[in-house]
Subunit: 585 residues, 2 copies
């Protein structure tokens, strides 16, 4: 037994005890005849004291030579501290050291192991094992553990069975690219890593397993955007003999339970919004509803004058920015530059100042009367002191631009409080979306999502108009997860795959096993998946998933700590019947 | 809401209620004017009744046409059954059906969905989703879920943190072959799938995480033996500031907890045995101690006569087989043939019958006196009525052969009761083993296992004599898991890798990140991993892990249900800068 207590355990009630502690030297203060060491472990910090009167001289000397992050074991007596520190759980005591043992030396760490560190992101990634010693990272990982445990317990209590599905499966063009794994035992053939256990969980439903869940790693070989990981974790669930309402009920319950467990926040019923409404009102299928600034479509109110920019636009949208009439002309110009950045892509922005005296001052005063502007204010809900921002153009682009502007302004105005949680169900997604370039249909959710039963006929006549019983859970403007009621018969699945451009042969080769299964008594079923990385980071009051992953990869998909991926030996390649053309390029 | 109750829920107290049930048609009995349907779901079976008096004629007709495994939804009234079936939880009631809805048709399943099925292993693997409907498979999966939940809860209660380690890591020749994953974003480079999270959990210890666990998939590209899977699940744990005793204490506690939770069996303290003793007494480092038949080394007692077979042998070993003097000559000859099979490989077997009258009759009577044989009987513990079996030859081979014989006989004699649980710690493993062919050292456990501190000096002078603080947990003759105290300083790790034949450059390229980490304040640490598949199958009273895996692979590493692995598109290969030479072979 290395230690009798951990470094967060001792308090005044332990005074007089002889204890053994282990940990890392966090800090050393040397006053000559007396020295203090802050000893740190996962549980906290305990102050050690060495002094000329009560400590053997060679021990005092040894203590003074301890470097930061050295690993030591000490034995000593718990004594009352002269100056208690009420900010530390162990602040009432210190340990007068009688024995000191060096367990392992430490080189000077490349950055300070403090809550606020001087290490940059790249350096901390390379020495992730040191970064994990820091409280913010350590606490995030412990927080993730607690959320995972709570999720599993809740679902298990609801009768869900944790079933492990395989990682070595078959490559299917389900959406993103698969990571593949060459098979040595089956030359020329490859496994794929799952983008999700979708087909397996559906087969579990066919198998009668009824309520399934799994916290499971998924893999997508995508060009990485900021805050995407090639491997990520999903809370994956599926239920049989259910309608959409049953699924929403269970997972609203789970989310409510987590908010309660983690933050003591009690949210009664989650609001719901159709996809169409979300797009129209927030320009976005994952609206942040912690604040207003809802879209007002101003076409009717703005297309009766000589302002050709608006007249030529398919959509004119305004939002009322609370209190933003205080912006200077320079600030507004900067905002206009912001919406014109290529990442946002607006051509320009019209604005209306809502003055305290009830008058309006706009950038389009030569086209619009005070009455016109008053009508815009009424439509957007702008009050005196607000600023109305108006964008226009193609419907999709204008919505996306206005949504970006709305989020940016909310951030600037401090309206995105990470301590406030605003969950929202977005429902009634379209089944398909048309690629504007190729004219081909893509599955909005995935190829296994069922059309709404009342839209089944439309599949043949007007597929773009078909809606699905598909739903997303949105939390604070982030998509936490989503799901759908699935197709459970061969004919519909086959029709769906054909709409998505699969030939009969390809459909059978790739999804034949699932369609075959549907013929042996498949129950109606549906489910959903939550992104655990995202869920945990938002519940943790942050938005960067990397901070909640023990060993994340960087934007190039590399683990810079272990330096992976890496070239293989020629021998290993030959065993796999592979050759790489990368070096010939 | 599809159903008001499940098919296992209704009992006499529900009589009179109107209920809605969903499920699969298990069985149909048609008596003309009356018909019964057994409706099955995950929770049980409920009998439905349709009769000419109380059921609409078209409904009765429809019921009669229901095929097995059809998915239906019914509404009806719970009534008392005329002939209650006390063997069924729902045996007191039946449901008089008022409404019947076909939810999905079913083709005739390729095998019967019954506890005892007529389907062969291959057929059931291809239609695994149908096999999962059968109680034995379904119950195994639910059992696995319960064990996983209990493991997580126990470890979490003990302060262990579930930390997810990455799946896309770097290939290292840690023992078995890695599965590799080509990186599209890093041309010519590959990730590897983890054979275990070994180095990551050690880095978590360096990171101060102190107590880590994870139930995690691991991957080994080995030539598959029976009952091995290319992907398997590990309960993976690591602790810092611990000695071997601390690790054994925690995981003995976990195992005891599981036996208690799952079977209500209370086992006080697990026995311990050194590796050397296990090999000498059972010829095996994972002895089944549910029964005796311990080895007696007979060299001294048997090498003083003219029997050259024994005189030339490095080892002569006997075991006393209880009650086996009843074997006929033919049965004993068959046993001799059994030990001579190539899979066992013995040259022959000497036997001694221990007669009820105290005399002995052996196959080597012309060399040995009754007193000699009595001495063998005493050494092996044979009593009247037993049969002594004696093998001889090289030490390692003879032990392995005698161990195989011992296990075979125990099986034949019914001594391996799956309801009896005999856990055992095997400790003090050698650090290294020498390959008899190449003379090279291999790590007995893995390259990160620490030598016993008192053997550290021997590393330079006599590596083969170095023991490790390494331990295995054995349950009923199966290795459930194992672990060790790890190396936590660069010098020892570097020396170990050099003993294993790594050049300085290779060691740094492959394990540099770990050795670097050891220089920044690595605490002493150790841990272990249990094989979950094996643990669950043994706790479940069975020995085939495949029965406890939802979607197992066959002996060729194939998933025959989804038909994986499979060839890739040329386009997909090109994106990965790969070409396959498999077809050119």
């Amino acid at each position: 037994m290395y230690r009798s207590h951990n470094c967060g355990a001792l308090s005044a009630k332990d005074i007089g005890k002889t204890v053994t502690l282990c940990g890392w030297v966090q800090k050393l203060r040397d006053k000559g005849f007396i020295g203090w060491v802050d000893l740190r472990d996962r549980y906290g910090v305990t102050q050690l004291i060495f002094d000329a009167e009560r400590t053997a001289p060679e021990l005092l000397q040894a203590a003074k030579e301890l470097g930061r992050e050295t690993v030591i074991k000490i034995k000593g007596e718990v004594i009352a501290r002269n100056n208690a520190n009420p900010n530390m759980p162990t602040g009432e005591i210190e340990v007068l050291v009688q024995e000191l043992q060096l367990l392992n030396a430490a080189k000077t760490p490349p950055f300070t192991i403090e809550d606020q560190t001087d290490g940059g992101e790249e350096l901390r990634a390379k020495y992730r094992y040191l970064d994990i010693r820091r409280n913010p990272v350590k606490n995030n990982l412990i927080f993730r553990h607690k959320v995972s445990m709570a999720v599993r317990q809740y679902l298990s209590d609801q009768g869900f069975i944790d079933v492990e599905t395989p990682y070595l499966i078959k490559s299917t063009p389900e959406g993103a690219r698969d990571f593949v794994v060459p098979s040595r035992m089956n030359p020329g053939q490859f496994y794929a890593l799952p983008q999700s256990p979708q087909t397996f969980k559906q087969l579990l439903m066919v198998g009668g397993m009824d309520r399934y869940f799994q916290i499971v790693k998924c893999f997508r070989d995508e060009d990485l955007r900021a805050d995407r990981q090639p491997e990520f974790t999903q809370i994956d669930c599926e239920m049989a003999f259910v309608e959409q309402e049953d699924v929403l009920h269970v997972f609203e319950g789970l989310t409510r339970h987590l908010l309660q467990e983690v933050h003591g926040i009690d949210i009664k019923e989650f609001p719901r919004m159709t996809y169409a409404h979300a797009m129209k009102t927030y320009g976005n299928d994952k609206p942040d509803i912690r604040f207003g600034m809802e879209f007002a479509e101003l076409n009717e109110l703005a297309q009766h004058r000589d302002f050709n920019v608006f007249n030529a636009a398919a959509l004119v949208v305004g939002i009322a920015v609370p209190g933003a009439n205080s912006y200077t002309r320079k600030e507004i110009d900067a905002l206009i530059d912001w919406v014109k950045r290529p990442q946002v892509g607006a051509k320009g922005m019209v604005y209306v100042r809502c003055n305290e005296d009830g008058t309006y001052k706009s950038s389009v005063d030569k086209f619009y009367t005070q009455e016109d502007l008053a009508a815009w204010a009424k439509a957007t809900g702008a009050a005196a002191g607000d600023l109305i921002c108006v964008l226009s153009g193609d419907i999709d682009a204008t919505r996306a631009q206005t949504s970006a502007l709305r989020m940016e302004l909310a951030t600037r105005l401090g309206l995105r409080d990470p301590k406030v949680f605003a969950p929202l169900w977005v429902i009634d997604f379209p089944l398909l979306e048309k690629d504007p370039e190729t004219g081909h249909f893509h599955a909005m959710h995935h190829p296994f999502t069922a059309p709404k039963p009342e839209h089944l006929e439309l599949l043949d006549t007007n597929p773009a108009a078909v809606n699905a019983n598909a739903y997303d859970l949105v939390l604070n403007g982030n998509e936490i997860g989503g799901g759908s009621i699935r197709i459970h018969d061969r004919d519909t699945q086959s029709k769906m795959l054909s709409l998505l451009g699969f030939s009969k042969e390809d459909a059978q080769a790739q999804f034949g096993f699932l369609m075959d299964a549907f013929e042996y008594g498949a129950p109606p079923h549906g489910g959903l998946a939550f992104g655990l990385d995202r869920l945990v980071s938002i519940l943790g009051g942050q938005e960067t998933i990397r901070d909640f992953i023990a060993f994340p990869k960087n934007n190039a998909g590399r683990d810079v700590m272990i330096d992976a991926p890496a070239p293989l030996d020629q021998e290993q390649l030959e065993e796999l019947y592979l050759s790489s053309s990368a070096n010939k390029q």
